[in-house]
Symmetry: C2
Subunit: 425 residues, 2 copies
């Protein structure tokens, strides 16, 4: 299955992917598009041009400035639209010819990605950050967070641990932020000032499509029907602020100053070729967390890179497979007490560290709490390396994920999840 | 200052109050109203009738189905509208005569409270629950939450501790909910089933009016300009679920199944007569938490009542004065790292217990974790009492607050904050 649009092997955006985003060009309103190769295909233009007229759903949902209304439709609508888009973009199909040869529509509907601005794809009601990374829990929980905690939290294997994150500080890739100020102890005295232990967290996140009502839990075996798609997420963390404030009630200001997500929402269907089982399965779980499906997680490599003075340095190589619960289990647990999920809610995995230091998804782990700075090697090896204990001002951190298809369906990636640390105000 | 509408001494809704709510009558759309005596005054009707034409603000904001657009306007607009409403409702004023004598407008604009349905007043983006109750912290933190914590959290006096609550499960007074299910240990074994330690928390909460941008903290001495008004809040808590899940990341499913608020948003201006200083002040604080205003908290009594088979039993008498930080300080701390607050965000105090058992704002405190059931005495003393360790199915819990004015301005209350426990699904 190839497209009549050029899709390089290195591109994140093959016919197998077709992620949704919200974009604008100079001086125009934000609107919904789909990425293919180096292009954005404008779905509002397609919808107005009649491309979906026979698919029996509310076309107005594709003419909004966020994906929420469209994401809230039934899964089968998303599947029909995806099939239609594949047919429109595939070479040697009748529909493909129509879009390719209809010069006025073609010119109106395609924009080069290099020339568009990307916006937050969804209006985010609630952001939930889970803690289901196996190696992250082993490393952080047993030694780094608190001397008083010397073992993994007893409930870690029984349920997907989570806290409510701050939805209003979630930003789209490319948005810079200021180093946060806060209170924390230094040499035994509590001071108030700019964070000194600014960290990253490599995470993977799902956007909720259809929600549920208060008091109506979602069955684990139907939970995937409620996932619209996935993004990369950097859960920036001020470790000194977090560890001082969070002894009782969990993270608050330590994680509320910025959370960066990649702009393209990769559909659930696009990740089918990359399924794996969660770690430590099978194991005995309560019925509400017991899945019929074995391969309910994904194996997608995520690389974190530091960009500084136009040079790039490797920070870490993580994987979405380092989880002990699937998104279906997270959703089932989240709603098990009756909590309603809403369209546009964002659910993240927590840090996706692997077992080695090169696979640590946050600097807290990688540098042993800042005590052992890590040597980050330049992509261009002639440029040497830089050392980091935590993030410094003007550091840009970039996450990227590119999953290679083994069956010729086409590679799937997420674009970049990028943020720059500006000095404290 | 009296109204030409009858306002009994026992009424929550004097001319000094004039709280905003969203209501509907049978078969009509939800719209914005103000409570006065036993009546709701329809602000959409007033706006369409020209009552605010000279006040220079966007009248469309009063024609919505939530208060958000109106609450997001500048404080001075809310003050002008409040003054106009007081003049329209005051006896012996020219404007008062106009509204009273204009029979068609009068009949169209007033609805008896007993005949309307109340809705959530604001679309809530983020819900933040603080932990600034002095006596709650002393009791819970030192003995009940965990045997490993034998003192108040070190940061308790230095900053207002908080966690992100779940916005999607906040409901308006009168909405019943099902006892949540979850995982928790019983006799050393972790089970999955209906919560056995269902609790209440007596809280006071502020709705944010105008917000702030990412990276732009709100100055503590201007923070009240960002408060639209106040409600009562019951932060229902499943203690067994909470204590098992929350050792690391704070409360999650233990508090995400239902949070009840009273329907009327009492304006900041209405509470001026009830100002007091927060507890334990003055004390040394960082500059960003240092207030010029001394009386930045409020002294409003809140009573919690159990209703069962049409009888009412006294649960607890709390006060909004039992806090060690003001809302201005909570807002300043919340935004100090750069976190944006949005119009419609809800910020609560945490449990407002006083020092005695009769003033304990949650059953966890009142019954020593359920070990010493509390005798709740009937309002009608001939009806005896009931014992409770935690909430039982079909219990209705009602919070009410009625602040008596000493200077004749009129009493101020909040209506009721009421919820009923239905059996687990």
């Amino acid at each position: 299955m190839g497209s009549w649009i050029e899709v390089k092997d290195s591109s994140d955006f093959s016919l197998q992917n077709l992620p949704y985003g919200v974009f604008s060009t100079n001086g125009t309103d934000a609107r919904i598009g789909v990425a293919i190769g180096d292009w954005v295909l404008d779905l509002k233009v397609l919808a107005e041009g009649g491309a979906f007229d026979d698919l029996e759903f509310d076309l107005e949902t594709l003419k909004n400035t966020t994906l929420n209304a469209y994401a809230g439709l039934e899964k089968k609508v998303h599947q029909k639209v995806r099939q239609r888009l594949q047919k429109l973009l595939e070479k040697d199909t009748q529909l493909g010819h129509v879009l390719k040869e209809n010069k006025p529509l073609h010119d109106k509907a395609f924009f080069p990605q290099s020339g568009v601005n990307m916006h937050l794809p969804m209006k985010i009601g609630n952001y939930t950050d889970f803690f289901v990374g196996l190696h992250h829990a082993k490393t952080v929980n047993t030694s780094l967070i608190s001397a008083s905690i010397n073992q993994i939290c007893p409930c870690f294997y029984n349920l997907p641990i989570a806290y409510n994150g701050r939805a209003s500080s979630v930003v789209v890739s490319g948005t810079p932020f200021h180093r946060p100020r806060g209170q924390f102890p230094v040499d035994g005295e509590v001071i108030s000032g700019p964070c000194r232990k600014l960290d990253i967290e490599v995470e993977f996140a799902a956007f909720i499509g259809r929600g549920n009502e208060l008091g109506s839990p979602i069955d684990v075996n139907h939970a995937e029907d409620h996932i619209f798609g996935f993004v990369l997420l950097n859960d920036w963390s001020a470790r000194d602020i977090q560890m001082y404030e969070a002894t009782l009630m969990g993270p608050f200001n330590g994680k509320s100053f910025c959370t960066t997500i990649s702009p393209w929402v990769v559909p659930l269907e696009a990740l089918e070729p990359f399924r794996v089982a969660p770690k430590e399965t099978p194991r005995k779980l309560p019925e509400y967390l017991t899945e019929k499906r074995e391969k309910s997680a994904y194996d997608i490599p995520i690389r974190a890179t530091l960009e500084l003075n136009s040079e790039k340095y490797r920070v870490a190589d993580c994987s979405t497979s380092n989880v002990i619960f699937s998104f279906a289990q997270m959703i089932a647990h989240h709603t098990s007490g009756g909590c309603p999920l809403r369209t546009g809610d964002l659910i993240a995995t927590g840090t996706l560290s692997g077992p080695t230091r090169e696979e640590a998804g946050c600097l807290l782990e990688q540098t042993r709490g800042g005590k052992e700075p890590f040597e980050m090697v330049a992509e261009d090896s002639s440029k040497g390396s830089v050392q980091r204990a935590f993030c410094e001002d003007n550091d840009t951190i970039i996450f990227a994920a590119h999953a290679k298809s083994n069956d010729g369906l086409g590679n799937v990636g997420f674009g970049t999840c990028q943020g720059k640390v500006l000095p404290a105000i």
